[in-house]
């Protein structure tokens, strides 16, 4: 957990409303533990928006950290206006990581919307460790994609409108894939409906799944108790003293699908 004023190396648009920003943040890059972790960004000095904004780490190497973000509201708009050379204050690395992707199973990575940031990160880790895997990326429309649909390379895109890749949700390609890969484990990050569907799918097929969830964060470091999600079963983890609720910033953002109660 480090606070680092980081120089922006680059900030560029990848697709419709999707941007990538890379920072020089050697301390955070060094402390980084793996896919799933996030940073809490302060993009502005004034107190009009008092809170930082959590963003998954999309890559951390060579003393640099990058994020992939979607234009949403006030702060992401401010972020998109930043130019290289400017600085922002980062707090990180925060949260836990995806696990067991390198223990012989077949990882299927599923990213929806900007939830693909940690998935791209995990994909990189798989490649680096020479672990066979597949990635499925869902979006509403083709203009939100910035990677090519290429099933021969185990990269599947889906769009709600069918404009790129397969029409429908990420659940489409999944059905076929698990038939081929009986030892598949699912890793997913994206909007709640997608995570819900992945969870149900995993339960039905008796598979393991790890989900990176989002929640509104006040601090990112366990001070505010604001970021809870409801827990299904009560294996109390180190940082949350709750049984029913878990602090996403400390015990998450990655949970076993069976743990999360989407209500």
């Amino acid at each position: 957990m480090i606070i680092e004023r980081a120089r922006i190396n680059s900030n560029r648009q990848l697709a419709h409303q999707i941007w990538e920003m890379q920072f020089e943040a050697p301390q955070i890059a060094t402390a980084y533990k793996g896919s799933g972790q996030f940073i809490n960004i302060l993009a502005r000095d004034d107190w009009n928006h008092p809170l930082r904004r959590p963003m998954s780490i999309a890559s951390a190497e060579g003393g640099c950290v990058s994020i992939i973000y979607k234009l949403f509201g006030g702060m992401t708009k401010v972020l998109s206006k930043k130019i290289s050379g400017e600085t922002v204050e980062l707090l990180g690395p925060l949260g836990n990581t995806f696990s067991n992707w390198n223990n012989g199973s077949y990882p299927i990575l599923i990213g929806g919307g900007v939830g693909l940031a940690p998935m791209l990160n995990l994909k990189q880790a798989c490649e680096h460790n020479k672990i066979d895997h597949t990635i499925i990326i869902g979006a509403r429309s083709g203009n939100e994609h910035f990677i090519d649909h290429d099933p021969t390379k185990n990269i599947y895109l889906t769009t709600d409108d069918g404009s790129i890749g397969e029409k429908g949700t990420v659940m489409g390609p999944l059905e076929g894939l698990i038939k081929e890969n009986t030892n598949a484990v699912l890793y997913a990050c994206g909007p709640e409906p997608m995570l819900k569907a992945v969870k149900e799918f995993a339960m039905k097929n008796n598979m393991n799944a790890q989900l990176s969830v989002e929640s509104y964060m006040g601090c990112g470091i366990g001070l505010c108790q604001g970021c809870v999600i409801q827990r299904k079963n009560s294996e109390i983890q180190s940082h949350s003293y709750h049984e029913k609720y878990s602090l996403v910033c400390m015990d998450g953002p990655v949970y076993q699908a069976t743990e999360v109660d989407f209500g």
């Binding site: 957990m1 480090i2 606070i3 302060l42 107190w47 009009n48 928006h49 008092p50 809170l51 930082r52 707090l91 929640s215 509104y216 964060m217 006040g218 601090c219 470091i221 366990g222 001070l223 505010c224 108790q225 604001g226 970021c227 809870v228 999600i229 409801q230 003293y241 709750h242 049984e243 029913k244 609720y245």
Partner: protein, 306 residues
């Protein structure tokens, strides 16, 4: 360097910059980011008789220059507090103020008796009679002079340590509540707790907070806190601890000028866990610039026009 020492009752604090209850956990959460021994005091998260899970999410949301929370007094309960935290506090040189919340007088009494029955270093208690989140956990005491007086009196009978009654801004007349606490034996009052607020997402047409209403905090409420402290200062004889929207040394100085003996920093910790250290530094600079040797010289010194 100015002398920042503050005295309240028979306790003295190294400086008047404290962290506010519920915004700094139990003081043990962010050791890498802040040296808690630099703080005037840590006011720990409200502790109830039994552990509390707190409210369902969503619990927080931003608002213009502020935020709304409805944590619902999630806490480990007094037993765990005594067993796990009091020993840790022995090792800190900063003062610990334990914040207590109860459903009824009996519960406050019980919690305090349990803590008093063990040996510990805590400097005193802040009594949360104003938390607007939990239906029966606060509000009722905070808006009523008689109940405030009765609660204060009961607790006064149990402890010699500091009793700080924490006042709610959601009342017609905060001064009369403060006076009731003073008369019943409180060593100090702190003001303000959060202001009742609501947030709605116009697109989804949903309330942003599970409990519909939550507590507004942050710079947005600084003017409300300053007015409360100044009004209390004019009528009360006991020290006042100022809270609400403090994010800079100037903010802290403004509260002291309004009449605060010490201040608490809340929401700002979420953004910069180490912000209190900056606030102490800049309060020092401010005092030097105005050739003051003691921060206590600021207390109540605001010059008004009328």
């Amino acid at each position: 360097m100015a002398n920042l020492t503050v005295t309240i009752g028979n306790e003295s604090f190294d400086n008047p910059i404290w962290v506010a209850s519920g915004t700094f956990g139990y003081g043990t959460e962010a050791p890498e980011l802040v040296d808690v021994n630099q703080l005037g005091a840590i006011v720990t998260k409200s502790i109830t008789r039994q552990p509390r899970e707190g409210n369902p999410p969503p619990r927080i949301v931003e608002s213009p220059s502020g935020m709304i929370n409805s944590i619902g007094l999630a806490n480990i309960g007094v037993e765990k507090y005594i067993k796990e935290l009091l020993p840790i506090y022995e090792g800190l040189s900063t003062k610990i103020i334990m914040n207590i919340a109860g459903i009824d007088i009996q519960e406050y009494v019980e919690i305090m008796e349990m803590v008093e029955s063990v040996s510990s270093v805590i400097a005193g208690y802040e009594i949360n009679i104003s938390c607007p989140n939990v239906k029966k956990g606060g509000m009722e005491f905070g808006v009523d002079c008689e109940m405030t007086a009765k609660l204060t009196e009961k607790l006064r009978g149990i402890t010699e340590r500091l009793i700080i009654m924490k006042l709610s801004p959601n009342v017609s007349d905060i001064v009369s509540i403060g006076l009731s606490a003073e008369k019943a034996g409180a060593d100090a009052v702190s003001a303000i707790n959060t202001v009742v607020g609501m947030s709605i997402n116009a697109k989804t047409e949903m309330s942003d907070i599970y409990t519909t209403y939550g507590g507004l905090s942050g710079p947005a409420i600084k003017p409300i806190g300053l007015a409360a402290v100044h009004k209390l200062y004019k009528k009360l004889g006991i020290p006042i601890i100022g809270i609400g929207g403090i994010v800079t040394g100037e903010d802290a100085a403004e509260y002291m000028l309004a009449g605060a003996t010490a201040v608490q920093v809340g929401t700002a910790n979420f953004r910069h866990p180490g912000i209190t250290e900056n606030i102490i530094d800049s309060l020092n600079t401010l005092l030097n610039d105005s050739n003051r040797s003691f921060s206590s010289e600021l207390i109540g010194k605001v010059r008004t026009h009328s």
